[in-house]
Symmetry: D2
Subunit: 372 residues, 4 copies
């Protein structure tokens, strides 16, 4: 398989450069009969859209998605769903100076070494713009997961640079441009970002995502573990440098007696596992946390080399996100949805009709936990 397809049964094959005519994808394997319209996909596209606030890139894109196939009379046919998003606000000329320069921290150099050429116009395929197709495709998965299993996938900004953010209220998340779950901290975030914008620098972030109402049994042990596929999907997002499931790196200092989640008839007593044991979902909430690096596209100049290997200086013109983490929440949710959808289909392929022979333990949350 070439590198632009995600999934085994529910697959997304994407294409498109940041400043080309359009981006799009083919979503294959969707079950038939799902009610689906472009509006169902638009909501999450709007959540990740550029220019939605002054703290993100000011590129103006309506990100309207068209469904080109696979849906007739408002229902999916079971045939592949072609999705198309036209680029509207391309400005390739903004990037003409970058044609011969390698921006530090950007993919310019590695693309050039791999392919002997690259699309210098705004990062081409290495741009975060590419993620719009992921979000569009995942809208289909999210709708199916919700309607078929009741699965709910929600994320939030857990850290913006030095500012650690608690999830106090899921409803708050959608009421600010940062996807912050603590309404009282929003002014602090605004102040931080305004100072950052002034400085011309960028900052890292952490985003958490949770899938609730999970059925047990999803995931293929050994290589295609559910957590392995989640980790791969998350790390495939631009700027992600780390992934944790459940207790994550905190488990390094835990003892077995502390980490193991006790089973009781009333539910699991804790969720250090993040909802996955042996690569298979337990029915508890799946909890994932990702680290996003500070974007390398900043206007502060830096020494670098050019394509001839000579010393040069580079500063990124164009329009960019000073913190890609701000718009990352819908993308992180999308990747989790795509992986869960794929594994739901894989699971029932092999295990349709299997009787587990044991009751399902409720995904009871420990006291005081918002994410169960």
């Amino acid at each position: 398989m070439s590198g632009n397809t995600l999934g085994t049964l529910f697959t997304v094959t994407s294409f498109g450069e940041s400043h080309g005519p359009a981006l799009g994808c083919v979503v294959d394997g969707c079950p038939p009969g799902l009610a689906l319209a472009a509006e169902d996909l638009q909501r999450d596209l709007d959540r990740r859209r550029p220019a939605s606030s002054r703290y993100v890139t000011q590129r103006r894109e309506s990100d309207r998605v068209r469904i080109l196939s696979g849906v007739v009379d408002g229902r999916t046919l079971g045939t592949p769903i072609g999705l198309l998003i036209e680029n509207e606000d391309q400005r390739p000329r903004d990037y003409s100076k970058l044609r011969t320069l390698f921006r530090p921290g950007h993919a310019d150099y590695s693309y050039q070494q791999k392919y002997g050429r690259r699309d210098y116009r705004g990062g081409g395929r290495a741009s975060a713009r590419e993620t719009c197709t992921r979000v569009a495709a995942a809208g289909i998965a999210r709708k199916y997961l919700a309607e078929e299993c009741g699965i709910r996938i929600r994320g939030y900004l857990a850290q913006l640079g030095p500012l650690v953010l608690e999830l106090k209220d899921w409803d708050a998340v959608e009421r600010n441009v940062f996807f912050c779950g603590d309404a009282e901290r929003v002014p602090e975030l605004e102040a931080f970002m305004q100072a950052l914008l002034k400085s011309g620098d960028s900052i890292g972030a952490r985003v958490n995502v949770v899938a609730e109402q999970m059925p047990p049994g999803l995931g293929e042990p050994v290589f295609d573990r559910l957590d392995a596929d989640i980790a791969g999907a998350m790390m495939s997002i631009n700027a992600v440098k780390g992934v944790e499931i459940g207790a994550g790196f905190a488990s390094v200092v835990q003892r077995g007696t502390e980490h193991r989640d006790l089973l009781t008839p009333q539910g699991f007593a804790s969720n250090n596992a993040g909802g996955i044991l042996g690569g298979i979902s337990t029915g508890q909430a799946i909890t994932v946390s990702v680290a996003l690096k500070p974007t390398s596209s900043i206007r502060l100049p830096a020494p670098t080399v050019d394509v001839q290997g000579q010393v040069a200086e580079v500063a990124t013109a164009g329009r960019h996100d000073p913190c890609v983490g701000i718009r990352a929440t819908p993308i992180v949710e999308a990747m989790l949805a795509l992986v869960l959808m794929d594994h739901l289909l894989r699971h029932r392929a092999q295990n349709m009709g299997v009787e587990s022979g044991t009751p399902v333990i409720p995904a009871a949350a420990p006291a005081g936990s918002i994410t169960s």
Copy 2:
């Protein structure tokens, strides 16, 4: 694809339960002409072998690997290489009490929910014993990567519970049973483990791994990024709960001016990227860090439920690792080798003969860094 195959072109398809007759795998896609004998694979198998010290499981397995196909006259043919490791010290009876109980933190419950049955004998396929085939298969990849490209892959224990361990000397790593790169800390580790053994509890760990002498250009952008495939491969190891590439979670608090690795004709000025930009290797060392949870197989009893959903108590008899992180170094190295090998083949499939048109920047290490 079913879940027991790793890779796209250089593939490992594994089978085997912990207390069944044998484990094995099929390694497909190996280039022809590689000099290969069972001894080449045995060295790493011996490094991860049980009972190699008192701090790991005392199960006695020689872990002798047989090459059943794909090699004639000491050279690979290009046809699939069948590898077989017979189990010698099975004790399924040790586990008969677990037939109806779910161990907290173990895969018992999730397997039962998925398949309606499970191999209760020592974890079956969910046992860390499964990783022996990964290490055997990776021996082929490591040999090819070393001989063809000069790539060297080395790991070490970076943290044992609360004890953070520096890499002071690569040579030290192989001279103690902990894969610790600081010889002076070994007595401390021994004391820690002895106390742990006495307590009956287990502990988490962190393992770092580095691939040096990397060629630039490996990795498929967007979904099959090199870092995405590494993250997935690492998270597919039993007990791994977190993966970082380069600066990892530290990048959350970094600024762009701090994180971006400057390019100079003499080399990169730093390696926050961990050797990968835009999903493609830069030629710098690839640096990965993984978190391993404390094993759930401990002799301290815990409340749990049985297959009828009734309250019960469980304690794990059998022989187990109190810290799976101790034997994890060869496994983490193996997974990195398998991913790099697969991407080397994928890269040259598409880009054979491509001229990059730009000089390769040396992977110069920043001053004071041992891992470049």
Copy 3:
């Protein structure tokens, strides 16, 4: 993998219904640096285009293909190439009567049983219209194969119903609407088709295709043999019911002494193998022959059942090919090109730099053979 992707390294993922807004595909894995413009793909699209003669469907489609990504400054980037063909002459109303009827010999019934619904508008995804994306995608493969290896892929109509047609002259093939290699037989074909059109019936056909200037070594033994992948690709074309490689079914009555192609320093003495031995190309011309059934979309009424399982009568309105074999030549060529391209990349992934240690035997044609 879902069912709408072809190939392992050079992949085509297609979407689109016959009477939906558009058809398209994503071509992934194309090497970078190939000069490519939409016109390069248009030639073959025009060769298979509807309404190109009175003997094929009269649906009016310009079949203009747009390249949406993967090409900058006239050269491929190595990133996925999005191709789009808008439908212009949809007439879904022509098909409203078919909503509740199953046409005999058509996919109506099997789609309904599989998905519980179907796109009744002109066959939806089961329409031969779907093949336009195959031809567009294959244009990329053909260009690369020609420029990189000199491979030339050509097909012709070998039989139209009872009329067996010899290949007398490759140049003749492109000078008539039937892709017939014997100019003198064209009036006979015209007369046959006019009578057929008058009768309202349809007819089967046989198409042959040849790939010349083949390098030896393409194909993966055992399951992914070159001939296996060719057979699968050909049988995936609508209406194909049989595939032969080399001597094909004629080999049933051959003796070994007759079938085996002798090797001489001057070349192979014959080509019963059709250019493939043990699943691997020998360097001789690859020769393939396919049987195409008479289309089931004919205006002569037939008894059938409706979705309630009741007896009914059906006749196909709409515009259809009375012999799909006439337009099949570019499609059959396309499928061969796609398989060869994929195997070229697969071969060099594993065997780049391998020295065969033996001279290449010329693909000398037996006396009197036009297809070597």
Copy 4:
């Protein structure tokens, strides 16, 4: 994917050379809970076993298969099933003369060109011996298909060189060494083969296979059509040069009114489609016919070239089948079973719970037809 894995969800990954220590495979994706023992696989292995009559190779192999994993307490676990067949009667010395010679019609030359080396011992991986793992693996699929859906897969020898053989009685097929369905013709076949053995030559054959009690709905339209995957699987068998589904090449001369299978409430009126429309099973019997070439391993000498490209002469010592078609029936059945099993799992992954909304048409056989 490398070339030694078949299938998407129910996968077989095989290894092994004809004169190496063992052959084997990993069967992944099998549903849990299937009752399975080695004896279940042995029956078909015995049907294809060498030395089962004087008309096949006299190599003595017991072909005992061992199940190494994936089965506990007599039931499949859902984890991969490792199968192993040890070679017992290797005679690599028989082949020492072939080390530097290319046998005409054999894979010697193409392997050498691809890999720069080859296993000259009896064909290595290109030997028909490789098919024993296919038959073993398919035993699992056949058992599941039979128990879960009632699908029955049976084949027979339809032609031996010039002798066309009718299927008069399924029971007769298993009562003679030729898998001939017409008991009265067996003496004729014996006489033919005795004369052939005396001559030292070999002969081609045709084998037909039928799957009855098929559920409708299996197959993925467009590329992964059920017929496409069957064609690929059949062509992947050594010596197969042609594949037909349903009417096959006979459809070339058919008219639409003749070919289309009418639907009636009592059943389909004919089966020219061979049970597949639009790539999806209709519920009628699937009918497949394959052409097998005469084996190239014959003792009659032939001119050839050696690895230096010099003229030489070669005659095959060793033990060989004068007609590989005789033992091919269980292999052809096996390939059909593997494809159907994979598509059953794929179908239910996407379409579990889908209501077709239309009655299933019985697979009524036309009068006088034995294969419906």
